[in-house]
Amino acid sequence: MLKCFTDNRFNTHGQRLTVHFDSPNLYGAVPEVSPAKGDPSSAHRPINTTTIMAVEFDGGVVIGADSRTTTGAYIANRVTDKLTKVHERIFCCRSGSAADTQAIAEAVSYQLGFHSIELDEPPLVQTAANLFKQMCYRYREELMAGIIVAGWDKRKGGQVYTVPMGGMLVRQPVSVGGSGSSYIYGFIDSNYKTGMTKEECLRFTADALALAMERDGSSGGVVRLAAITEAGLERSVILGNQLPSFSA
């Protein structure tokens, strides 16, 4: 069954984007000049089949992601930034449909900004996570979005909340998502320890992402990392040739 609606946004080429849904698992935005409508093989929608990760530590969080966006077999963007700011100390890691997650992040970012002005203080990470959850749950049939929300606030310090596809919400000390995450559950379970420092968390995240990128064809490129604390935000990039390597 074919449903479609027009999303009033433009892609980087200035083309109006139209969203087509023709199967439960394929979502995204294609330029209006794409092949004939109703063509079921137009599977060329930008997807962040990816590996994303977030770890809490005492005083903040570390978040990381790979940098590959694919449309079918073509890598549309090999240096994607999947770590998106929704407020000064709150970020989200995006996986799934590139269009869906960008749209959700923009909407939540607007809502959070408004809420923060009303409150006259920085919003809570739990608030941001709930806004993501409400949107992802309400539109669960239409969306393909797996999001990890992470940040720092005065009340509970560093927090990581995961909102996987389907729209549930749970807080976890360490969370991974995206297609590459399957391969690193064993590594995460065996290597995570409570009480790690920021530097240990950064190293742990970089190692885990490198392992996932090695095994998952849909993850790759560079590793983008960010550490969020009360003091602020530190972003870094690990280029492909500088990634940790393992003997296997």
């Binding site: 399957s182 391969y183 690193i184 559950y185 064993g186 590594f187 995460i188 379970d189 065996s190 290597n191 995570y192 320890k193 409570t194 190692d207 885990a208 392992l211 996932a212 090695e214 095994r215 393992f246 003997s247 296997a248």
Partner: protein, 216 residues
């Protein structure tokens, strides 16, 4: 898929939902598996030993359809017995793996099973072969089954060349425990077999004695 004009209404027992692993060290191999056999959502056997002997010092680990995998192992066991009588000495691990591969490849459309073959022989020491989809490849270690997806990162990070027998046993047990925790289709107890020139040593680690991790 129907046979004989009638179809089975219910799911058939499968060990595809499984985790199997084999690793070679200087002088032998360690091969291990979980113990769950599921038919759909039901666990039909929670203590199945998926490590099947093909010869005295050659074992294989079963994954995929339970019937297909067991039958392949039995056929190769028979063929290896005949072969070893003909040549008058113990068969090579590579011979066993080739026999498994021949069946996997010839009947690849009909069968749905992946066997990892591991053992020790005098010529090349400890060896591990994968025979997925009918290919034959020797590897320093191999993982298979649905639970293996979750431990790719772990085995890539933890494997080092020159591990001792004890290191390999720990590696196998840790890997199985991690996979069994994350894969709903793997579980039960962990079996592992250590094969070297002195013989084979079968061990079973019960569920409550498996290594635990930070969230348990």
């Amino acid at each position: 898929m129907t046979t004989g004009g009638f179809s089975l209404g219910q799911p058939t027992p499968s060990v595809k939902a499984t985790t199997i692993i084999a690793i070679a060290f200087e002088g032998g191999v360690v091969i291990g598996s979980d113990s769950r056999v599921s038919a759909g959502a039901s666990v039909v056997n929670r203590v199945m030993n998926k490590l099947s002997p093909l010869h005295d010092k050659i074992y294989c680990a079963l994954s995929g359809s339970a019937a297909d995998a067991q039958t392949m192992a039995e056929i190769v066991n028979y063929q290896l017995d005949v072969h070893s009588i003909e040549v008058g000495e113990d068969p090579l691990v590579r011979s066993a793996a080739t026999l498994v591969k021949n069946i996997s490849y010839k009947y690849k459309e009909e069968l749905s099973a992946h066997l990892i073959v591991a053992g020790w022989d005098r010529r090349a020491g400890g060896q591990v072969y994968v025979t997925l989809d009918g290919l034959l490849a020797r590897q320093p270690f191999a993982i298979g089954g649905s639970g293996s997806s979750y431990i790719y990162g772990f085995v890539d990070a933890e494997y080092r060349q020159g591990m001792t027998k004890k290191d390999c046993q720990e590696f196998v047990v840790n890997a199985l425990a991690l996979a069994m925790n994350r894969d709903g289709s793997s579980g039960g107890v962990a079996y592992f077999v250590t094969i070297d020139k002195d013989g084979t040593d079968e061990k079973c680690i019960l569920g409550n004695k498996l290594p635990t991790f930070f969230d348990e």
